[in-house]
Amino acid sequence: MKVIKVDPEKCTQCHTCDLWCGIEIGSETKELNDAIHDTPQPVPRVHVEGNNFPLHCRHCEVAPCIDACPNGTMRRDPQTGLVYVYEPTCIACWMCVMVCPFGIIAPSASFHAAVKCDRCRNMDYPICVDVCPTKALVLEDREEGATWYGYAPKRSF
């Protein structure tokens, strides 16, 4: 499974990743000059908040959001292992928002859905990695089930 690795030493908090995430993923036009004036305001999936660390969804092996979701809206792609929101069935109950340990799921009142990073699963390359000017974000292979403490937890589906 490929995950986004963040190097805080390289991050300059320039906000280029969340700007382009909002444009490319959050807007319909995908054009800078149109997206910045969109209403409702596009919701970026990556958050740069103060600590030189652009925060993305970690696509946890044991994902509390999947377990908390009452109707199977929060899903895992069996091929890639990526966790995503199936928007048509989202009832905006914000259970996932409550349980996410990283606080990266945005409760979007205007879109009536939970909005989170799906690591651009329908694209060749995540947009944030593509635009990062200092290469603080890179796409890396993570071995299936690998953890630093040596055993693989049971993956949540």
Binding site: H15, L19, W20, I36, Q41, V43, V131
Partner: protein, 562 residues
């Protein structure tokens, strides 16, 4: 975030691009691609570095980050972005004028019309102090009283430019007020350009249109070659050419005024490809002024062992000995570089350049407009921008406009772009123009080309021509079907120029889009508010469009006035 598909439309330049990539020499286009994606906040004017608490941005997608630390919101940021560009651009014109005027005052050179030159220097001094410049009085009275009513008519010019620059540092104001200050700043630049043009005529005598050869083919390997880059004192330029003539050293120019009467320096190429002439191996020494000179030249010069002499240094000495030193160093460099191989493409085009307002009979133009022979007047200006295929936008637009019987005038680097493609060659005139326009041009003179070059950005040929149009037609400038277009702009000077063109009442299209688009209110004010106040809009176009669509936009804007 667009990568460049085709770098240039100029085949002579393209010849060297392959060599550059083989030798891994990075040129402007490579550096542009390396900088992608460019900062979206800067591109849309949603950023600010005006104090040390920042840098601040107004994040379009984060509610907690919509205003800067001092409270600048996106509208203020957008307007400030415009003010900043205009101030810097106006300073460019003022600096050119100052450098020249102080040299004249110091007794360098011997002015042809001494009294007039002294008067202009005095006028310049008054303008730099607190007094109004007399040159602004050349504008029609109604326009001046209009400007006074809006508060944009500049009085003590430099004093007011300080004020404009301080608008960036704080204070409370709305977008519209800020824009009016920007227009005031731009008009100061306009006055400076007019003074510089007049001072040049007083010192060197009037210029006449002259046939020049343009493009890389003008280089040769037989004698040492000095290349003049950018803007510096015309008196130094004249001295260099004078000394070089005696020593059989060739002097050519890039992004510099080609006319220093009685001499002229042929333009080798234009802004976008300013690094290319060095790659021919035929250049021995470059003299670099300020403004349109890429700092990259210094590193590239090392590859071909080219001497670099900056003119705008703190201690320069007197002009004659400096010029002699430059020519001497060029000769030494020529000897030292005898083993450097040369590759000069045989591409050159003949062009008649350097018209001034008096060379074009405004009465005939006004009559042709009234009689419907021509559909309007279009000003083509601006240099090159790496975001567009070099020269492609401007030449395709010119081609479209000429076919549709629009009288095209051009200025500065835009003229060199057009000259490279034969638009300034009188022999090709009828091939480019529609019937009505062809008739007008041939009545204006035998050697008038399809596009009329009204001089570089160091003289105010265009403004003077507009003034003579207004007096010939007994109309306000804004009442003529006129449009200005900057198809490949890149300098802050172009922004200031666009601003004062709008202030005169000429609708202006500017590409690429100005970094104000983060604020819809600023974009709207540049069109709606400007239309109310000056009778013309500054169009900020964000949609990507082909040259045909652009030409249609320009035509529509001309039709509105008819």
């Amino acid at each position: 975030m667009d990568f460049i598909h085709r770098k240039t439309a100029d085949l002579a330049v393209e010849h060297f691009l392959k060599e550059a990539s083989e030798k891994e020499i990075s040129l402007a286009w490579d550096r542009y691609e390396g900088s992608l994606p460019q900062c979206g906040f800067c591109e849309t004017g949603l950023n600010c570095r005006d104090c040390l608490q920042g840098p601040c941005i107004s994040h379009p997608f984060r509610d907690e980050n919509k205003v800067g630390i001092c409270g600048k919101n996106k509208d203020i940021l957008g307007a400030h972005s415009f003010v900043r560009l205009v101030v810097q651009g106006a300073m460019g014109y003022l600096d050119q004028l100052a450098g020249f005027a102080w040299d004249v005052e110091a007794g360098e050179g011997s002015p042809k019309r001494k009294k007039e030159a002294e008067k202009i220097v005095a006028d310049t001094k008054a303008m730099f102090g607190d007094g109004a410049s007399e040159v602004m009085g050349k504008f029609p009275k109604t326009l001046i009283s209009d400007w006074k009513a809006k508060g944009v008519y500049p009085k003590g010019l430099a004093g007011e430019l300080f004020k404009v620059s301080q608008k960036l540092d704080g204070g409370v104001g709305n977008v519209e007020d800020l824009l009016l200050w920007a227009f005031k700043g731009a008009l100061i630049g306009c006055a400076a350009q007019m003074l510089q043009g007049r001072l040049k005529a007083a010192v060197f005598g009037d210029t006449a249109p002259k046939e020049l050869e343009v493009n890389l083919g003008v280089l040769h390997k037989e004698t040492p070659i000095i290349l003049l880059y950018g803007h510096f004192s015309p008196l130094l330029k004249q001295k260099i050419v004078e000394v070089a003539r005696g020593e059989k050293v060739g002097v050519l120019g890039v992004c510099t005024d080609p006319f220093v009467p009685p001499f002229s320096v042929a333009p080798v190429t234009n802004y976008g490809s300013q690094e290319i002439p060095m790659m021919t191996g035929a250049v021995d020494l470059i003299v670099t002024g300020d403004q349109c000179v890429n700092p990259s030249l210094a590193e590239l010069a090392k590859i071909w062992k080219i001497e670099v002499v900056p003119t705008e240094v703190l201690m320069r000495g007197d002009l004659t000995s400096f010029a002699k030193e430059i020519v001497e160093r060029a000769k030494q460099a020529f000897e030292a570089r005898s083993e450097v191989s040369t590759d000069i493409p045989k591409v050159k085009e003949s062009a008649v350049m350097g018209f001034s307002a008096k060379d074009i009979d405004a009465n005939k133009v006004v009559k042709a407009l009234a009689g419907g022979k021509i559909k309007g007047v279009a000003l083509l200006a601006g240099c090159n921008n790496v975001k567009f295929t070099q020269d492609q936008e401007i030449t395709s637009l010119a081609r479209e406009l000429l076919k549709k019987d629009v009288f095209c005038i051009s200025e500065g680097c835009a003229s060199v772009s057009l000259a490279k493609f034969g638009f300034l060659n009188p022999k090709q005139r009828d091939a480019h123009c529609g019937k009505g326009l062809s008739g007008l041009l041939s009545s204006l003179g035998k050697s008038v080309p399809a596009v009329v070059d009204l001089g570089s950005c160091e003289n105010s040929g265009v403004t003077d021509f507009l003034l003579s149009m207004a007096s010939a037609g007994k109309k306000q400038i804004r009442d003529f079907p006129m449009v200005a277009c900057f198809p490949e702009a890149n300098r802050t000077k172009a922004v200031a120029r666009a601003a004062w063109t709008v202030a005169m009442g000429i609708p202006t299209y500017f590409w690429p889009f100005l970094p104000v688009t983060g604020s819809q209110r600023t974009v709207a004010a540049l069109s709606g508010f400007c239309e109310e106040n000056f009778g013309a809009r500054l169009h900020v176009v964000t949609q990507k469009m082909e040259y045909k669509e652009k030409a249609d936009l320009l035509m529509k804007s001309l039709e509105k006035k008819e």
